[in-house]
Amino acid sequence: MPREGIIIKRPIERLTGEQVQQIHDSSLGILQDPGLLCFNRRAAEVFQNHGAEVSAVSGSDASSWTIKIPEKLVTDALTSAPSTITLGSRNPDNALVMKGNEARVYYITGSETNTWLDVDFPTYVSKTDSSKEIQVPEFKPRRGTVADLCASAHVCEHLDTVDGYIRTVNIQDREINETNKDVNKFFACLNNTTKHVQSGLTNLAQLGNVVKMAEIIAGGKDKLRENPLISFITCLVKSPLQFVDDTTETFIEVCQRGLPVVVSSSPQAGTSAPMKEGGIMAQINAEVLAGITLGQLVNPGTPVLYGSVPVRARMDTLGDSYGSIETTQYNIDCVQMARFYNIPNYSTSGVCDTKIPGQQSTVERLFSDILVTLSGPQFLHCAFGLLDCNSVFCLLQAVLDDAHFKMIRSFLREPRIDEAELSVIRKQITEVAATPQKMFINYIRPVMRSGEISPPYAFEGDGEDDRVFALANERMQELLAKPVEHIDKATTERVFNEIPGLLPGLNVYIGGNKS
């Protein structure tokens, strides 16, 4: 049985049906004029071979092309793109089944950050009263490592609300280089979580080794097709409207292998996309449709997710403002567009502008997490533990995020109201009304033990002290101490024998990193 996720029975929508159609029409118009600038030869050839208008850009020594995509290619691609996508996992109970027309939300971690944020709780003594001591959380940034990635996957394996795992930290150990980063990245994730693993690829030359590793772990090539325990994210279109050479090449190769892949576009309203909502929506939709069309031309039926990471520019720096209200609005709009196409949506929430866990981080992430969840994306890349606009990962924040996702999940339980229940309740009301104290306490207990009542906030302290961070840290340590199901010894040996470049420290059977 796959993971349940959360079903949103009545998703919130911002766009009217007419506005959805207008955005769709504008996107089709953009794909034909001005079209896309393409820096990848194979993509240009694929489009040309299928009737798109492709012309070399003058003065570009034939390394860039303008591609104008006719409407029919897009509509055919939308027909051949699967509306149901399964993302597999080492533990079959952790598989994700996403249907384009079903608002079943899965929460996934990610994206990749360069910086890992440690937390410590030093004690400070009052200058005026040495008997007064307080513990204050201090956050210390450093470069991410393989061990950090293992620890992150390990903890996320145990966080109930995490449905799938996108690598959270860029591994920057001295032993890691361009040729071994991908295999180590994927193995560190796969070995520490039994949930689905998704990542981008650093070096296309490593795709074969990564897929081979996944095949060994899945039990063979066919088993991997049946149970794709890895998938890929590719940002093949750089905004505005440019097919990038290397990521497009990666995308084509992944499509040829038939593995699930996210067509991700991340325009910034104000700089790489129009400032106005209609403008960025028409453009991001065109960019994603261009990617989906290329994928279906390369390999019809390739499972592609409609990936949307739109963001608004900050007015003070022109950097990303993931915490802005508009960013949440764009994401909700994208969910609606993907549903219009009946293609599962990879959406974004929870990315905040603030640099450390705290009140701003809580407000920003909770605001978008609630609203984007309610819009019903299938694959919500919800920034577990991420801070500072996707550039910092803090495991403590991920544990805090799990608590608020539990609250959202609890809120979204379906109401249990029917004639039979109301009949029982009316009897209770009559009985209680006849008592002197008129309290329903005796009826609380069965409901309380049935799990119907939401629990208090997970990190609520006793008394007036705010101990949220300290309690979340205790929880984090508990989860790190809890074992995870690693890949078995024989399979691990085979992976290490057949896949070059793996760090010996990752082999838990020879005393390696057990996170």
Binding site: P436, Q437, K438, M439, I441, N442, I444, R445, P446, M448, R449
Partner: protein
């Protein structure tokens, strides 16, 4: 059923918070079997002394409930269910205790003051105090000072608990205290106040004897008065 078995079953039903046979308790399979009220009646018919029931079953059961509450296995509804069951048992045992001249832990009159109709907190306090072995006379809500004075005069309680939720009604508390002083009854009773609007400072300001944040603290305050 033997006396020992009856005492054990009574204690277990206190822990389960089952006042009567209809109550579900924690273990749903007990539904339909005798609860605290029925077991106490059966025990009295079997001539088991009331003091044994109190010491070996009711008090011992509540001690276990208290431990479970402290360890967060039980929540307030569980504690209240057990206290309510013990309170019902004490009502049955009261005439026997009086007959045998066994002293109770004390009598308390509780009331939500005039103008205020909020009573959830006051009711919880009443249940917990009954469960702790106190005799509770609950006057209800919106109680005028005249009524309180009258009941204090007639019932001669050891304690008076006044409750108010609102800043607009807490001012009735000193009015009640003044009325008791004018009637010459103030020194006969310890006055406790509680409710969202009031505080320790307010208790001192109006001349009350104690402020209680909740029912658990009320029990501690009364025990401290007893010990003094």
């Amino acid at each position: 059923m033997s006396a020992t078995k009856l005492l054990e079953t009574l204690k277990e039903n206190v822990i389960q918070g089952r006042k009567t046979s209809e109550d579900i308790g924690i273990d749903e399979s007990l539904t339909g079997t005798p609860g605290v009220v029925e077991i106490v009646e059966e025990a009295l018919e079997a001539d088991i002394p009331a003091e044994d029931l109190i010491n070996h079953s009711l008090t011992a059961g509540m001690a276990v409930v208290g431990e479970k509450f402290s360890s967060k296995e039980y929540f307030i509804p569980d504690m209240l269910a057990s206290a309510d069951a013990v309170g019902a048992a004490m009502e049955i045992l009261k005439p026997l205790l009086e007959e045998a001249n066994v002293a109770t832990k004390g009598k308390i009159v509780v009331a939500t003051v005039k103008g205020d109709i909020h009573d959830i907190g006051k009711n919880i306090v009443s249940i917990l105090l009954k469960g702790a072995g106190y005799e509770v006379v609950d006057l209800g809500i919106d109680v005028p000072k005249e009524k309180i004075v009258e009941v204090v005069r007639e019932e001669k309680p050891d304690y008076l608990g006044l409750s108010a939720l609102l800043t607009t009604t807490m001012t009735e508390m000193p009015v009640v205290i003044s009325a008791l002083e004018e009637s010459g009854l103030r020194d006969s009773v310890k006055i406790l106040i509680g409710g969202a609007a009031v505080s320790e400072d307010y208790a001192q300001e109006i001349g009350a004897d104690a402020f209680c944040t909740d029912g658990f603290q009320a029990i501690k305050v009364l025990e401290a008065f007893e010990a003094a």
